[in-house]
Structure formats: C-alpha cells, structure tokens
Amino acid sequence: MMEELAALAQWHNVRFMAEGLWITLRISGLTIAFSFILGTLLGVMRYSGHWLLARIAAVYIESFRASPLILLILLFRFTMPLKPVNSGTLAMTLFTAAIVGEIVRGGLNSVDKGQWEAARSQGFTWWQTMQHIVLPQALRKMIPPLTGQFITVVKDTSYVWVVGVQELTGKGVIILGQHGSTL
C-alpha cells in the first residue's frame, strides 16, 4: 500500500494535479469577478423598475436560473468558437451572474424605501442615491449570500470536466484511471 501511495506522489503526478488546481482557481477567479460586475448590473436593472431594463434583466435572470449549469457548459462548448476552458468560464459567468443579480436585488429591497425619499429630497440624483446611500447598505446585507455563492462557484468548476477541461476533478479522474487498479 505504501509503495502505491509513493507511486501516486511522484513528481509528475503532483505537477499534474497542481495544473488542475491552477485551472480550477483561474476559472473560478474569472467567473467570480465578471459575474459580480454583470450580476450587480442585472440586480440594479431589475430593481430600477425601468420598463425595458427591468424586463431584460428579469428575462435574463429567469432563463439562466432555470437551466442546469452542466447543460449551459455543454451548449456553450458546442455553439461558441471558443476553447473549452473559455466557453466553460463564459457559461459559468453568465449562470452565476443571474444568481448574483437576485442577491443584489434582494439586498437593495432590504434597504428602507424612506432612504430614497430622504436622499431625493436633499437633491441627490437617482444614481447618486444608489451609489452613495442605497448600494453600500445593500452590499452589507449581500455579503453572506454572496460569499456562499462564490464558494459554490469554486465547487461548480468541477462541472467543466464534462467538456474535457482538466481541472482538479478531471485530473483526479485521470489519475484514478491510471492507478485505479492498484488501489
């Protein structure tokens, strides 16, 4: 048993897994950054109640929230002229943005409407009120659900193995395939 474990710990296997870890981290990092930007935008759009922007945001959020991530990853892989790792990151970003959008909207909703009236009566514009008064307060409420969602993103990167991207899970399966019979 010890010999087999030693075989697993060989340098090229360690490097192999480290590559997987790096891909996992890169996909999750990009997904978190971009989905936060796009999600905030979507959340504010939906919250704004603007006849067109709110509707666009709602359609976007509901369509992406109702689809399995695995399906999006496959669909994007097969219909976009992108490398698998990029189409996977894009699918994850667009999917996560829909969820972030709902978290942002929830956060904004939790801020007392009275704050709006107070700020507007002080001569603040809509955007100034949003930027300086409402969004910072909402952000504080959003931190726990956002953290949870971003942890989920790191976990969800394992889905991109389905299109052959060798992230951590994929590398693990390959090693299992090579050394499984000795276990």
């Binding site: 109702a66 399995p68 695995i70 399906l71 496959l74 097969f78 219909t79 969800d156 499984g180 276990l183």
Partner: protein
C-alpha cells in the same frame, strides 16, 4: 445554422421516447432525493438548534463537510471509489444518495434559520407547559417554521432538479444523459440541447415563480423582517 438543420430536428422527434425515458429517470431520482434531503434537513436542522452541544457539533460537521466539497466529487466518490471498499451502490442509488445528502446540508441551513426565526419565548412557553423538547419542536415550532421555510425550500427543490443532471456524468440515464448520449451518437447536438433546455425551463421556472410568490407573502405577513435565506 447547420447545427439546427431540419433533418436533425426530424431525427430527434423520431427518437422522442429516448428523452421521455430520461425525463422519467430525472423525475424519480429528483423526487426520492428531495425526500431524503428533507428528512436529513429536518433532522440536522433540529439538531443544529438543540440544547445539546454534541447535537450542534454533529450538525455543523455534516453541513460544512458537504457544503465545502463539490457535488461532482461526492458523486464520483460514491460511484468510483466506494466499490474499492466492496460497497457497490447501483447507479440510481448513487444519484439519490448523492443528491439527497448534498441538498440535505442546504435544507439543514434553511430549517435552522426557520426555527431560529420563531421567537424563543414560544419554545420556553411550550417547555413550561410540560412538553418535551421533541414534542415542542413537533407541535409548536416546526409547524410555524414550515411556513417561513417554504420559499427557500422550493428554491432548493429547483436547485436539486437542476443538479440531478449530474447523473449524466455517471451514465445515469437521466434527461441530460439521454440528450447527451443521443446527440453524441448522431452528432445532432443542436436540437437535443435546445429541447432539453426547454424541458428544464418548463419544470424549474414555475417552481421558482411559486417560491417568489410565497416569499412575498411571508415577507408581508411578517412585516418585512425576513430576508431571503
């Protein structure tokens, strides 16, 4: 538009029963997994708020162990690794167990939040009336908590249905697998993926809307103090 050519759609409609079989497997797996998740969630959710430290620790351990590892890894462990320890679970069981235990951890958090939202005085009142802890939970706290947890619970159900597509990665015969396998053998993936997306949407969207409506109602009846869990 090659990938959505008419003859590819015709081929899909000719083989429609393949998708139907997949839908059946998705429904049965998701249904059973949901029951398991509910059972685990109520059990560990009650433990999380129990007066005994060991109960809280066990619950905490379960939730953090499950919530901090990917579902794919957990399912692969059940599927590929357990047989090396002479535990060969059939694929459908791997699906139900994997999904049930995974979402059970999230349901635990929902149930815990629901119980904590009920005023502590109610528990004390019930206990002082001679109820045991379990009785107080069963007859006083949980029925009230149920109303609060309904919306987030529905969201968990939606997440579970979507995540059941994980079966596609272990030859599980679910909707996603059937579409994937069919499009892989024919090469006509365009119509297959689009159709499957529409089916998932038709199931998940109404459920999500239901959750939203309930959430709104709970928020109104509780004076806006409860935010999305």
């Amino acid at each position: 538009m090659d990938r959505f050519a008419a003859f590819k759609w015709q081929a899909l409609f000719r083989d429609w029963h393949i998708l139907l079989e997949g839908l059946g497997r998705t429904a049965s797996t998701a249904g059973l997994a949901l029951l398991l998740a509910l059972a685990l969630g109520v059990l560990f959710g009650v433990l999380a708020t129990a007066p005994w430290r060991s109960g809280r620790t066990v619950s905490r351990l379960y939730v953090s162990l499950i919530q901090n590892t990917p579902l794919v890894t957990q399912v692969f462990f059940l599927y590929y690794a357990l047989p090396h320890f002479d535990i060969m679970l059939p694929t459908p069981v791997v699906g139900v167990l994997g999904l049930g235990v995974y979402h059970g951890a999230y349901v635990t958090e929902v149930v815990r939040a629901g119980i904590q939202a009920i005023h502590r005085g109610q528990l004390e009142a019930a206990l002082s009336q001679g109820f045991s802890y379990v009785q107080a939970m069963r007859y006083v706290i949980l029925p009230q908590a149920a109303q609060i947890v309904l919306p987030p619970m529905t969201n968990q159900a939606v997440a579970l249905i979507k995540n059941s597509s994980i079966l596609a990665m272990i030859s599980g015969g679910d909707l996603m697998f059937q579409a994937d396998s069919w499009s892989a053998s024919t090469g006509y993936y365009g119509p297959a993926y689009l159709t499957v997306w529409a089916i998932y949407f038709a199931i998940c969207f109404p459920l999500a809307q239901l959750a939203r409506r309930w959430e709104e109602r709970v928020r109104l009846s509780r004076g806006g103090e409860v935010t999305a869990a």
